[in-house]
Structure formats: structure tokens, C-alpha cells
């Protein structure tokens, strides 16, 4: 027997000792995915609810992305940023989807949530400063890697608060 095949056999026995055959492997996979899906979608629902409440609260702060020529006695730059990641289940589904192409609704919703959160944080900062208009708003999206995989997205919203 060559040393290669002995090594393979030892490796096989090691994994078998841990209970890793295909059946249990699939079971672990299903367990982790279901857990990720349940926790992930609960967190997404909660986040959307929080966003709704926050946006209602700050309805009096408006934002625009043009430069108005209005009188102001002070201007302060405000910004809001957030890094959001998708759960494992959705990342996995997106990976499957990318085999066939087409829209990935889960990623769309993640990016939209991040954008709303960033705008909300920017408006909140303006509100604490006593401003009710933010002009020249720019939105900036970057993909952020977690470990060695690209998992999350960073959205930055910034503008000039008029006081």
C-alpha cells in the first residue's frame, strides 16, 4: 500500500470517528441553514420595523441632493453609515441563484435596508444639531469582506446640514 492511500484511509477514519458521513453532514447543513434563516428573517423584520418608527419620527428633517442657494447662518456636514450582512441561508441562496443569473431579491432588500438606515442616521445627526434640512446628499456603497468572504455592504450617506 502506498503512503498516500494509507494517509487517505487515516483521514477517512478520522472523519468517520467524528460522525461525518454524508447523511449527518446534510443534517448539520440543514440545521445550520434553518437556524440562520429563522434568526436572519426575524432580525430583518425587526430592523424594518425599527426603520419605519425612525423614519416617522424624523419626517420633519428633509434631504435633497442639490445645492440650494438659501440663507443659512451655519452649515455642518453630517453623515450616517452602517455595515449590514446577509445571513448564511440568504448568501447560500444567492450563490445558487448566481448559477442561473437574474435578480437576487435578498441582496436587493439588504442593500435597501442599509441605505435607509444610513440616511436615517444622517438625518438623526442633523436633527440633534437642530437642523431640518440636509442638502447635497451623496450615497456611497462599498462591499465589505468578512474573513475571506465578501459578506456585507457598507452604505455611507453624507450631506450638508443647514442651520
Amino acid at each position: 500500500m502506498s503512503s498516500q492511500s494509507i494517509r487517505d484511509q487515516i483521514k477517512f477514519q478520522f472523519w468517520q470517528g467524528l460522525g461525518w458521513n454524508i447523511g449527518t453532514g446534510l443534517l448539520y447543513f440543514a440545521f445550520i441553514m434553518t437556524g440562520a434563516w429563522l434568526i436572519g428573517s426575524t432580525m430583518e423584520r425587526r430592523h424594518l420595523a425599527r426603520l419605519g418608527v425612525g423614519e416617522d419620527e424624523l419626517r420633519h428633517v428633509t434631504a435633497s441632493n442639490c445645492a440650494p442657494d438659501i440663507a443659512a447662518h451655519n452649515v455642518i456636514m453630517v453623515s450616517g453609515s452602517v455595515v449590514v450582512a446577509n445571513d448564511l441561508f440568504k448568501s447560500w441562496r444567492a450563490r445558487v441563484r448566481s448559477l442561473f443569473g437574474g435578480a437576487i431579491p435578498h441582496y436587493e432588500s439588504m442593500v435597501m435596508r442599509a441605505r435607509r438606515e444610513a440616511i436615517l442616521r444622517m438625518k438623526r445627526e442633523a436633527d440633534t444639531l437642530g437642523s431640518d434640512h440636509v442638502c447635497g446628499v451623496r450615497l456611497h456603497t462599498t462591499s465589505v469582506g468578512v474573513g475571506n468572504q465578501a459578506g456585507g455592504v457598507e452604505v455611507l450617506a453624507y450631506g450638508t446640514a443647514i442651520l
Binding site: I32, A36, I39, G40, M43, E44, H47, C66, A67, P68, D69, I70, A71, A72, H73, N74, V75, I76, M77, S79, S81, V82, V83, V84, A85, N86, D87, L88, K90, M110, E117, C135, G136, R138, H140, T142, S143, V144, G145, V146, G147, Q149, G151, G152, E154, L156, Y158, G159, T160, I162
Partner: protein, 104 residues
């Protein structure tokens, strides 16, 4: 130092455009944060450690830009823009730039 990301300071008059000023910083996250974010990444949601890290870095880049403007004896920086680019191996560059101006 007044900062604005539109091409003027609302309510003020610009008398001189001095120069382009910039500030940048390259940051990487530490291992502990990375591991914590890895777990969080399984469940989705906000990665708070990363949000704070990028905010700190952006503040630093802005500070450096303001220092450059102060060196030019400017009153304000207009048209401020931020960019982020990921440089190899989990490091990110945060970059801020704008035009230093003199106000009336």
C-alpha cells in the same frame, strides 16, 4: 473650519479658491473583531464593529483633510467627497477630499 459637500457655503460668499485638499487613512480590523463579525455574518444584521471602525477611520481622514486646509490658511472646505476602496487582505482605504476656500 466649515465643511460643506455642495459647491458653496450656503449664506456665505467665497472670495478665493485655494487648492484641492485631501486626507486619507488605510485601516484594517483586528482579529477579535473579525471573528465576532464572522459569527454575526452567519445570522445577518448589522456588523456594529465594522460600522464603528469605518466611522473612526473616516473621522481620521476628515481630520487630516482639515489639517491640510488649515495649512493653507483656508476658512472652509467645499465640495467634500468621501470614497472607500478595499485594498488587499481586509484593509480599506478611506479618503476624503475637497476644495479649500477663503470666505468673505
Amino acid at each position: 473650519m466649515l465643511l460643506s459637500n455642495v459647491d458653496h457655503i450656503p449664506g456665505r460668499e467665497i472670495v478665493a479658491y485655494l487648492d484641492l485638499v485631501q486626507g486619507s487613512t488605510v485601516r484594517t480590523k483586528h482579529l477579535g473583531r473579525d471573528i465576532a463579525a464572522g459569527f454575526k455574518n452567519m445570522m445577518g444584521g448589522e456588523l456594529r464593529g465594522y460600522t464603528e471602525l469605518l466611522q473612526d477611520a473616516r473621522r481620521e481622514a476628515t481630520k487630516r483633510m482639515i489639517e491640510a486646509a488649515e495649512a493653507l490658511d483656508a476658512d472652509a472646505v467645499v465640495n467634500v467627497r468621501y470614497t472607500t476602496s478595499s485594498i488587499a487582505g481586509g484593509a480599506a482605504e478611506l479618503f476624503a477630499y475637497g476644495t479649500a476656500v477663503k470666505l468673505a
